[in-house]
């Protein structure tokens, strides 16, 4: 018997006639409906730049404050209590199995994006040692990606999530290009993938480096905004 990966309740999967007739492999669901429905998907009423859920489709105040090359971000879910609880268990407690919960939404979202090269935001060496995984690449099941960015070793005095907005905005550039980045990125449309878009600082730092690597366009996708 399968159990929901998040709440642990037993899963009752119903096979429909539709699934039988379409001859595709039967996908095993990993989470129960209640757990899935805890998240709030972002609708088309969002900021066209950062992808934040709002009541109209104009550029939001935070995006207007940014100068320099604009970055278009799409986000899948609203960063609400449920998403915080998910992130807490997945990223901070390190429950790697919870990656399964988001693989399907990420796959569907990647399918909608237009890009040539997928670049997930990397984690630094110390985090990798401690956490044992990169929370972003964990969501990728089969999608090919390039690790074109590296994190400078000693940039972090404290994690991004422990800072307020102004401290986040003053974060210096943490990324460098990987040795093979120039060949991989040259004249390509690049999609950055990250977990949460909060101020946009991290993604803009990453985008700047990617442009330096010769990419012709950079957009981003995040799980939550």
């Amino acid at each position: 018997m399968n159990a929901c990966v998040w709440c642990g309740r037993p899963l009752h999967q119903v096979v429909t006639l539709n699934q039988i007739w379409c001859w595709a492999p039967l996908t095993q669901s990993v989470a129960c409906d209640q757990c899935r429905q805890r998240f709030t998907a972002i609708t088309s009423q969002r900021c066209p730049q950062c992808g934040r859920q709002q009541t109209d489709e104009t550029v939001c105040v935070d995006c207007q404050r940014w100068t320099g090359r604009p970055l278009t971000n799409h986000a899948i879910y609203v960063y609400d209590e449920a998403m915080k609880a998910y992130m807490q268990q997945y990223k901070f407690q390190g429950d790697y199995a919870l990656r399964l919960l988001m693989q399907e939404p990420i796959r569907a979202a990647l399918f909608r994006e237009h890009y040539d090269v997928l670049v997930p935001i990397p984690v630094d060496q110390a985090t990798w040692q401690k956490r044992g995984f990169n929370q972003v690449t964990g969501w990728l099941r089969q999608a090919p990606f390039q690790q074109a960015l590296l994190v400078l070793a000693d940039h972090k005095s404290r994690p991004q999530s422990a800072k307020d907005r102004s401290a986040r905005l003053q974060t210096p550039q943490p990324f460098t290009l990987a040795p093979n980045a120039k060949e991989v990125l040259h004249n390509q449309r690049v999609l950055l993938l990250d977990d949460v878009y909060t101020t946009g600082r991290t993604l803009r730092h990453a985008a700047n480096q990617i442009y330096l690597g010769g990419a012709k366009a950079v957009t981003s996708l995040t799980l939550a905004r």
Binding site: Q89, Q93, G94, D95, Y96, G132, T137, G138
Partner: protein
């Protein structure tokens, strides 16, 4: 640098050995062809792996992740406490002769280091009965844990023990605790927190031992066994022991002390059964059983406060609506995920609301003076025998209102209800022999 104190009787996961005498065991041990968590005994699934190839335990993740890289370090418990001959007891209350006898029995078993069950009816003041035994244990320099599967029980208990044992250093541990761990002779914690200890306690008191999820969780039962010294013993407190415990008592594997009378010497109120034929079907038409409405109106007219127990959280809004349509106002709903739960319970205690509509979360650990209880759908599976007896035990807890009514509306007659009535009747029979009054 972690101080030695932190390691005494505990198991601390570290990647490499600390600079003291602590000894380590691997956190995840190979058992057959699987790995087993040495903290919670969970057998790892083949999928419990990280991207870097390490294994991790998902079951006790909330206590901090254990991976195959870590070892659990411990220093055997040294019992380094300053003891007082009185055990630090500052409680000045009086025990009734009934309670006195039970307290003496408990103390004798603790002195003999024997495992023991204190089966005392709801409202018998179990906590106070244990005080003499606890004071004796603390005077011997024992390390004692007072645990419960329920965090609300721990939270309510901590200030009481703090008052009763004013001279004893105490630590309160639970999932959301912000204060750091301190080494104390008396630790009040949830059973989950015992997983952090190894052979630390000479005496473990388990309050509400039949409460969810302890009875069905091998992990928590292991937690108690592992946190107890090999020379230690445990004391179970409950009003409604489950089948397993009752069987152990019957087979003489577990010593037992009964307290069949409440502290004020009155008998338990018996559950009054009423038939509510197809009340669910009625409810879908926004109607409640006529007898129930009449009873509630009578209570409201005489300003008798009461609790209305319903089977599920989803029933709460429907029943509130039906009550409104029937012209009954003033009820407040409470359920487990309610953010204002404590405030609402406090309002009921302060007599600011006439009645609460609630689920089984208020079945134990709460005391309201002078309330009656109505159970709607007592035949539902969520009301176990223990739950029904506990719910009935909310009535008549204070000395100035020692009796009251418990009414249970059922669609069918079930074994659980019958057993609950049987248990109350049996305890009352014992109580009557000891001179209990109606």
């Amino acid at each position: 640098m972690i101080e030695d104190e932190q390691f005494w009787g505990r198991q601390i996961p570290l990647p490499q050995a600390p600079v003291n005498s602590a000894t380590g065991i691997t956190a995840l041990k190979q058992v057959g062809n699987r790995l087993q968590c040495q903290r919670c005994t969970h057998l790892l699934a083949p999928t419990d792996r990280l991207a870097n190839g390490e294994w991790y335990c998902r079951q006790c993740l909330q206590l901090g992740r254990l991976t195959s890289q870590l070892e659990l370090y411990t220093i055997p418990e040294p019992n380094r406490f300053v003891t007082a001959p009185t055990g630090g007891l500052t409680w000045e209350g009086q025990l009734s002769p009934q309670q006195e006898r039970a307290a003496q029995a408990v103390q004798d078993y603790v002195k003999a280091r024997k495992n023991h069950l204190l089966w005392a009816v709801t409202g018998a003041r179990k906590t106070e009965i244990v005080y003499p035994a606890l004071a004796w244990a603390l005077a011997q320099g024992w390390r004692v844990a007072w645990t419960s599967p329920r965090v609300d029980v721990c939270l309510e208990l901590a200030p009481r023990l703090h008052q009763a044992f004013g001279q004893v250093a105490q630590a309160l541990l639970y999932g959301g605790q912000e204060e750091p761990y301190t080494y104390c002779p008396l630790t009040i914690c949830t059973v989950h927190q015992l997983l952090r200890f190894r052979e630390a306690f000479d005496l473990i008191i388990v309050d509400e031992v039949d409460a969810f999820p302890l009875a069905t969780s091998p992990m928590l039962q292991h937690a108690i066994a592992a946190a107890e010294k090999t020379s230690g013993c445990h004391l179970y407190l409950t009003a409604t022991p489950g089948d397993q415990l009752q069987k152990q008592v019957a087979n003489k594997q577990l010593a037992v002390t009964y307290v069949p009378l409440r502290y004020h010497g009155h008998l338990l109120p018996q559950i009054d059964l009423r038939v509510a034929w197809r009340w669910r079907a009625q409810l879908s038409k926004n109607k409640l059983p006529v007898a129930l409405i009449r009873q509630m109106k009578a209570y409201l007219a005489t300003q008798q406060r009461f609790l209305l127990f319903v089977p599920h959280v989803v029933d709460l809004p429907v029943i509130t609506r039906a009550l409104q349509l029937a012209g009954i106002q003033g009820g407040v709903t409470v359920h487990a995920a309610d953010a204002e739960r404590t405030a609402k319970v406090q309002a009921m205690r302060d007599r600011r609301i006439p009645f609460l509509i609630t689920t089984t979360i208020l079945e134990r650990g709460v005391t309201f003076p002078n309330v009656n209880v109505i159970i709607l759908g007592g035949d539902d599976a969520v009301f176990s025998t223990a739950a029904l007896v506990q719910i009935a035990g909310r009535v008549g807890r204070s000395a100035d209102a020692p009796s009251g009514e418990v009414t249970c509306y059922c669609h069918t007659h079930t074994k659980r209800v019958r057993l609950a009535r049987g248990m109350i009747a049996r305890l009352n029979l014992q109580g009557r022999r000891l001179g209990g009054r109606k």
